[in-house]
Symmetry: C2
Subunit: 200 residues, 2 copies
């Protein structure tokens, strides 16, 4: 069974792919608005992991909608959730795999779909949405990551990976200026990027 | 890393063990109040799967507490949740593994720990509690089960497995009579038991 895993090049989506590997035919899918080339980091990481990689373009209306939602709420979480949901829908609509997955964890708050959103995604597009890390807490994730992956961690500015948040951050800064950007996004945000997979 | 998986011999806990197998050293653990020998079904299923098996005794005060809670609420879910939580605690307290798991799924309502109960379990006993099926819906579980396991399904009376619910049902019926038992428990309850694992 083929499964498409939403992929950022970070430790969570990498571990999700590794946990699925013995049971599915995994393809890593990175979404981009086409505004930056940060997706290339994900392609590099995918090569290191040894999985096929695919780039998927998200429409500019999703970016507009996301920024509107962040401005309305005054913090990024609802906008990040919205982009994530639209990305899953975009992959589901393509119809290339009956199973789609991501690297969201038990303790994550964003991106995170609600149960009604999950049911809607699955029923509307006849897909199964799988979250391999949904039953893993932070410590368990960190232990498995340490066994399987060499990673670099740091704040968003230092560690280039390829989640849509990078592009949304840049777009908001560019469109609305530094003051608005700093009001919406907290200054520190730890990211990880995969450098290498340990051979077991 | 050793992981102890709460095991009933049913499809969910069997699939949970299979999903963990490539990443952990799995031991299946079946809990019993020692009132029936239904745990032998789980031992049989464990042998078919090819995992080591262990029997763990639950104290009679857990049974008493569970029946009290069911009578108080008038339906079994809170009592089943309580026994499950106590079973996880009993396994965690033994200190034999730093990781404990079960076969609870995304769409399950019972047994199911709340997030505060999960944090309490992990922090009090310094264990990681993992739910491999937490990110899998019913259809995805059924597909994976069909790929890996031959099962028999039917109602509780017909399919003997080894969840504590079987023992709690019998104990309640014996102590409080058929009328009370039938008021608390719904008549139909589909169970599954593993017969065989397909070699991949």
């Amino acid at each position: 069974m083929k499964i498409q895993v939403l992929y950022s090049g970070g430790k969570d989506s990498s571990l999700a792919a590794i946990l699925l590997e013995p049971f599915f035919e995994v393809e890593l899918v990175t979404c981009t608005f086409g505004l930056e080339s940060s997706w290339e980091n994900a392609r590099e990481a995918a090569r290191e992991l040894g999985f096929p990689f695919k780039l998927v373009r998200l429409g500019p209306e999703i970016m507009d909608e996301s920024i509107d939602v962040m401005l309305k709420f005054g913090y990024p979480r609802p906008g990040i959730n919205l982009v994530h949901r639209r990305a899953l829908e975009t992959v589901a609509v393509s119809g290339e795999a009956k199973h789609i997955a991501d690297g969201t964890r038990r303790d994550d708050r964003a991106p995170m779909l609600t149960m009604p959103e999950i049911r809607s995604l699955e029923d509307s597009h006849n897909v199964r949405y799988i979250r391999p890390l949904a039953g893993y807490g932070r410590h368990a994730v960190d232990e498995l990551v340490a066994m399987h992956l060499e990673i670099v961690e740091g704040d968003t500015a230092a560690v280039a990976k390829a989640d849509y948040e990078t592009e949304v951050r840049s777009a908001m800064r560019g469109r609305l200026g530094d003051a608005v950007y700093r009001r919406i996004f907290p200054p520190e945000h730890t990211q990880s990027r995969v450098l290498r997979r340990y051979k077991s």
